[in-house]
């Protein structure tokens, strides 16, 4: 196949993902829109009736909403890992999968950003979190970790959106050439006037490298900041210097798992198998295995430090996690986040998309449990035994959680049907690099 034909084939494969949607796709869109609408209705109930609609009460004042916030921020992490960090490391397997991961990042951060606002109870006062000049001369407290969150998550959303859109521009320009009607105008908008001249590429490649260089420390900072929401307090189970790397590793694990959860069915439904090959899935699953081992190491260190050297309340909290009211969730978490990924040592498992899908799905569930155990498990077993009290999310909280998944999948499904889910320009470069030298 000539290089020009290879270029056209890549384009055609991506263009084919934008064909008229089938019944299955439409059903998924409707289902996710319905889930999002149900979540919205639950939130409306909570706004109308107040926080009693939730299961939150002393001592557990942070529950499902903050669990969801940490979970979705974590999901957002692998997008930047795959697109920026692997770019800096020149890992070529990222080319076919990074666009999906980037889109997932932007949508997941948007989803995460909803939860602190939902958790406020009075969402119309959310602007109090931002610094703005006012007649009373009041300013926000920059020593508060919650304010660090506002800056970290907002910056992450803006930078990852820019990174995604800058990457899409040359691909939208390529798709626009053979498109007609509203699609031509749509691609034209997202190509931002891209013309593909040597001068544009000269600046583009440099700028892209800088975006990656900015995004890399950002990805580490964001989840470290999220972990400080907990670590700077004195609650047993939270007050640990281990938290920033522990949270970053957990975030990357959950993000990679979500990429695989999305990619495995997507490559089949959108017929992207020639571009997203078993080799790409294999490399992603190796990364998943590596991060699962790192997270398992943190679990072990956390337990070892608290049980061997920790103060009594700390030991009590960690023993309660493994044997108390949340013990089933704890052991399921270990099975999903550690035992499941161990199967990926087998090349046969790594080559099986079905097995990968279920292992990744298990990690998603396990990571949600992990955040729930850290948050609700620690607060329900604080320093004062007479205050020990369990927490279970109400149906309204569970409805909002379901709604968040619906919201995420709704936007993701729209993305894959409207914008290129594989980087066409970079795939073309890869096609040239992989072509026989005498071609």
């Amino acid at each position: 196949m000539t290089t020009g034909a290879a270029f056209l084939r890549i384009e055609e494969l991506v263009r084919a993902t934008h064909r008229r949607p089938g019944a299955g796709y439409l059903a998924l869109v409707l289902l996710s829109a319905a889930a999002a609408a149900f979540g919205g209705w639950c939130w409306a109930l909570m706004i109308r009736d107040g926080m009693w609609r939730t299961g939150l009460n002393r001592p557990v004042n942070w529950g499902t909403f903050i669990t969801n916030f940490v979970f979705w921020v974590g999901i957002a992490h692998s997008g930047t890992l795959i697109s920026a960090i692997l770019l800096l490391f020149r890992a070529r397997f990222r080319t076919a999968v990074y666009r999906v991961a980037e889109a997932m990042t932007v949508i997941a951060v948007t989803t995460a950003g909803l939860f602190p606002v939902i958790h406020l109870g009075r969402p119309w006062l959310a602007y109090w979190l931002f610094p703005y000049p006012n007649q009373r001369g009041l300013w926000i407290n920059f020593r508060s970790p919650l304010i660090w969150d506002v800056f970290a998550v907002s910056t992450y959303l803006i930078v990852s959106t820019i990174f995604l859109l800058v990457g899409i521009a040359p691909d939208a320009a390529a798709l626009r050439v053979r498109a007609g009607g509203w699609r031509r105008r749509f691609y034209g908008f997202f190509s931002f006037g891209w013309r593909g001249t040597g001068e544009q590429w000269r600046h583009y490649t440099r700028a892209y490298l800088f975006f990656a260089a900015f995004a890399t420390p950002l990805v580490v900072s964001v989840h470290s900041v999220v972990s400080w929401d907990f670590a700077v307090s004195i609650v047993p189970g939270w007050h640990s210097t281990l938290f920033p790397p522990y949270f970053v590793a957990g975030a990357i694990l959950s993000g990679l798992a979500m990429v695989l959860t999305l990619l495995v069915p997507m490559r089949r439904l959108l017929h992207l198998e020639p571009l997203v090959t078993p080799r790409h899935l294999d490399m992603l699953s190796r990364l998943l295995l590596l991060t699962a081992l790192v997270v398992a190491y943190f679990y072990a260190v956390e337990y070892a430090l608290s049980l061997l050297r920790g103060p009594l309340p700390e030991r009590s909290t960690f023993l309660d996690r493994a044997t108390g009211r949340y013990a089933p969730l704890f052991w399921m978490m270990l099975a999903a986040n550690f035992a499941g990924p161990l199967l990926l040592f087998s090349a046969r498992v790594r080559r099986s998309p079905k097995a990968l899908f279920f292992i990744a799905l298990g990690v998603n569930v396990g990571m949600w449990f992990e955040r729930f155990i850290i948050i609700a498990g620690s607060l329900s077993h604080d320093r004062l035994p007479f205050l020990w009290r369990g927490y279970a999310p109400s149906w309204v909280e569970l409805g909002i959680t379901l709604g968040a998944f619906g919201w995420f999948f709704f936007w993701f499904l729209l993305f894959v049907k409207l914008l290129p889910s594989v980087s066409i320009a970079e795939m073309k470069v890869q096609a040239v690099e992989e072509a026989p030298r005498d071609a």
Partner: protein, 166 residues
Amino acid sequence: MHEAGVVGVFSEPGAAARAVGALRAAGGAEVRLAMPGPFTGPSAALGRPRSRLGWVTFLGALAGMAAGIALTVGTSVAWPLVTGGKPIVSLPPFVIVIFELTVLFGSLVNLAALVVAAWRGERRRPFPALDRFRADRIGVFAAGGDPALSERILRDAGAEEVSRVG
């Protein structure tokens, strides 16, 4: 009316790189490129210096850092409320906000610089008939110079099509 010159259409980046090199060696014409991906061969053959976008981005990041310091220190001094017995100007927690604003401003300025540089580059060195060069072919444009010589060089390098414009 586009400026006069010769456009060569290539399917292989290697052939386009050879054409660019030969046109530059012959002199006379200003060589320009259009391509559907960031192929290193033709870009390197063009011999353009590395984009200086980084300096603008660096200044943007510095401005973000200054804005972060001004915001955290300035507002804390303007409303000096002691929390947790900590100093009014507590640098360690402020570093987080300062870092985030450094990255935010750096990224926004990087984007603005990219847009301006790409637009200016396009205005200074326009390329005729771009559509196919965004999709599956690489275009080499020899602006000015001896058109007959440019045509010969482009054909010798393996151009699929060669045409005069302007």
